[in-house]
């Protein structure tokens, strides 16, 4: 207990001085970091290509003939749709929270050398667990939410733990187990939806009427009037910081990353490989579970229905993690970015565009990020070439001055 308090006091301190000696130079430094620059370039290209696609299909929704203005209207929404009003932006943040957490789930696994395609499954079981806790327990407001969220985390963690332990002990490839676990989660949750004690026949979904367990708003709606925002976004950000802290500053993070880098070397160093893998997957799963809790517990609920489809959110999580290059703090932004683009693209429908443009833009961004370092390298090479050429001329002259530089003697 004492230990935990100590841990968090430390955590708090380092977070504090993260913000206290947070001077603009630091920020500038971050923004001049090539990785970050690459990402921004990629995002720009993505939106640009999105716009080009739009120009081709731009039709006046009513007259039906091609019109460049429509393309511009669409673009205006794609760029600005998410921030047209405080309400809009509040909603963007609201919807970003689960995305950020799923992104963290995948990104964290990446950082520790694991590929978690199972975030979807972890999300589904997490969601049902949270909703069960919300429906079946009677607790005071606030506490009830916390418990429900913890239930989500626990369920997700279990769902992540299974592939983890199977990889650790039986060397079962986590990619395939997590895929299988997604399907199992799907069927399991569908069964659990119709359990009479939680089922709402009118909705044909898990009952959404649990006043005490909803995500608290804490007056954030005053900041973003009319939006659905609640503390979920704050939770997501805090968790991201916590994950960053664990990875970069703690012995646990040191272990997990070491195992991720080299199974053998970490084994040699006496690090417990099996435990590390299981723990990583558990944490990853827990994050996805928390995402689900925040997705299903808000006052205006999402409906958990007996639908036999694997939640696509896990795959969004992969995109988000990759755009954030698996850096927990960057994932806060990539998650928000995705939410923002989705909002904008959704609004573009008003001008007759299909919101599938979202994923076109996102995929271009991802692809650009994939190749950005190469492109960067090519550009640098160009510069170097020039310098080289300059140098060579000099050196050639040197050679002329003293031909046949040789130490030692040559035998005939």
């Amino acid at each position: 207990m004492e230990k935990i308090k100590q841990f968090f006091s430390k955590l708090w301190v380092s977070i504090k001085d993260f913000f206290v000696n947070f001077n603009y130079k630091k920020v500038l430094k971050i923004f001049t970091n090539t990785k970050v620059l690459n990402s921004f370039a990629a995002i720009f290209v993505g939106l640009l290509i999105g716009f080009i696609v739009m120009i081709f299909v731009a039709k006046n929704p009513f007259t039906g003939e091609w019109s460049f203005n429509t393309a511009l209207d669409g673009l205006e929404r794609l760029f600005g749709g998410g921030s047209r009003s405080l309400k809009n932006f509040g909603d963007v943040l609201f919807k970003a929270a689960p995305l950020i957490l799923v992104g963290l789930s995948v990104g964290f696994a990446f950082k520790t050398g694991l590929f978690n395609i199972g975030a979807s499954g972890q999300f589904m079981v997490g969601g049902v667990a949270a909703l069960y806790a919300a429906n079946l327990l009677t607790l005071p407001t606030g506490l009830h939410f916390v418990v429900a969220a913890l239930a989500g985390i626990a369920a997700g963690a279990i769902w992540g733990f299974v592939p983890g332990i199977l990889k650790a002990i039986y060397n079962v490839n986590e990619v395939i187990t997590t895929i299988m676990m997604n399907y199992i989660a799907m069927y399991l949750t569908v069964m659990m939806v119709t359990y009479p004690k939680v089922y709402d026949g009118g909705l044909t979904a898990i009952n959404t009427n649990f006043p005490t367990a909803h995500t608290p708003v804490l007056g954030l709606d005053k900041l973003f009037p009319g939006s659905n925002i609640d503390i979920s976004i704050i939770i997501a950000i805090l968790v991201a910081v916590l994950i960053w802290f664990v990875l970069e500053k703690t012995t646990l993070g040191y272990q997990l990353k070491a195992v991720g880098h080299s199974k053998d070397a970490s084994k040699y160093a006496g690090i417990n490989y099996k435990k590390s893998v299981a723990v990583s997957m558990m944490i990853a799963g827990g994050l996805a579970g928390l995402a689900a809790a925040l997705y299903y517990l808000p006052i205006k609920p999402a409906y958990f229905r007996p639908i036999e489809v694997i939640s696509p959110i896990g795959f969004e999580g992969i995109s988000i993690a990759l755009i954030g290059q698996s850096h927990p703090l960057a994932i806060i932004f990539s998650g928000t970015l995705i939410s923002y683009i989705k909002e904008g693209a959704s609004q573009m429908q008003l001008f007759g565009f299909n919101k599938e443009i979202t994923n076109i833009v996102i995929s271009v961004i991802i692809y650009m990020i994939a190749i950005s370092s190469y492109l960067g390298m090519v550009i640098n090479k160009r510069k170097e070439r020039k310098r080289e050429l300059a140098k060579e001329e000099e050196t050639d002259e040197e050679n002329k001055e003293e031909p046949q530089v040789k130490g030692g003697e040559i035998n005939g």
């Binding site: 299909v57 395939i176 895929i179 299988m180 299909n354 994923n359 076109i360 990020i369 994939a370």
Partner: protein
């Protein structure tokens, strides 16, 4: 008996696309490039192939029926598959370019493809009104046009005749051929030897004067070709309306490839086991004895996946991926 036969033909029916895709992925991974873009590539293959057989890509022809009346069902189908293969190759080239030439993380570019293709397919279908009526997001598939009701003579063979040579799609035979070819290419040809070398130890291959990049490009493009074809075969097999989805078969196929421990024959076995289990649980009614136990559907549906995991636990101890799979090849590295 009838039901037993039906069961088998379904297993075959679903195993073939799984196998083709898994073997495709095999080519890529054996060359050293992880390719989880199979789902996305299958979708492209299906999308473009179906556009073609619906006559959307050929001026003058504007319906599947017209097209088949012109040159016959099977030829159309095969042409469509060739188009699908070309499309698959083009998309997989994106992956090859990024992960081989540009040293990109292979997961990332594959994810980009998986994100892009379904969206693009839907987007084009709706924006360019490629479906039956404007605004719809589905392409019609006149599957019955391409069915071979029976192969002369062969169809007379008892049981097997019925199983293999009556109402089958041409794709079935393509699949069988693909299996045989894959095995031969991987194990019995110069290219196969070099392919495996690149996936195991590219530096050795490099020192032996092999062009790693070329081999890996080929590996990835072949995987694209096979995914494209199997996407086409699969979709025409199971629906009369294509909505830019192959219901996760691309990922299942990768699972099957790992399950089959990156070896062609084991993959075929794994695919049949998995397809067999899936068909059994979806079609529990094929086996009245089980059916009448009235086990909750959910449980039955889970079983194939649970069993697969169990089998993996029993078999994975010495499963090993190609050593260099997923690693960027850099001459300098040592």
């Amino acid at each position: 008996m009838a039901s037993f036969y039906d069961y088998f033909s379904l297993v075959l029916f679903f195993a073939i696309p799984l196998i083709m895709t898994a073997l495709g992925a095999l080519f890529s991974e054996r060359s050293g490039v992880v390719n989880i873009a199979m789902e996305g590539i299958m979708i492209v293959g299906a999308f473009v192939g179906i556009l073609f057989i619906n006559g959307k890509l050929i001026p003058g022809i504007d319906s599947a029926v017209e097209f088949t009346e012109a040159i016959g069902g099977v030829p159309v189908y095969l042409l469509g598959m060739i188009i699908a293969i070309i499309a698959g190759i083009l998309v997989s080239y994106l992956h090859a370019l990024a992960s081989i030439k540009m040293n990109a993380d292979q997961i990332i570019s594959a994810t980009a493809i998986n994100t892009l293709t379904p969206a693009l397919a839907l987007f084009l279908t709706m924006s360019l009104a490629l479906g039956e009526s404007a605004g719809t997001d589905k392409l019609p598939v006149a599957r019955s046009l391409y069915l071979i009701d029976e192969v002369p003579l062969l169809s007379k063979i008892p049981f097997f005749g019925e199983l293999f040579f009556q109402n089958v799609y041409p794709g079935f035979y393509v699949g069988i051929i693909a299996i045989i070819l894959t095995y031969i290419v991987i194990y019995k040809t110069k290219f196969g030897l070099r392919l495996r070398a690149c996936g195991e130890n590219p530096h050795a291959a490099d020192a032996a004067g092999i062009n790693i990049y070329k081999i890996r490009y080929l590996g990835v493009l072949i995987s694209g070709a096979m995914a494209g074809a199997s996407g086409f075969i699969f979709v025409i097999g199971f629906t009369i309306e294509f909505n830019a989805s192959v219901v996760g078969y691309g990922f299942l196929a990768i699972a099957v490839m790992i399950f089959g421990n990156w070896q062609p024959l084991k993959i075929v076995g794994a695919a049949f086991l998995f397809a067999g289990l899936l068909t059994l649980s979806d079609g529990i009614s094929f086996f009245p004895a089980l059916d009448n136990l009235d086990i909750p559907e959910g449980i039955i549906s889970m079983l194939p996946y649970l069993i697969t995991i169990v089998v993996l636990v029993l078999t994975s101890k010495n499963s090993r991926a190609p050593k260099a799979a997923g690693q960027i090849f850099d001459k300098g590295e040592r």
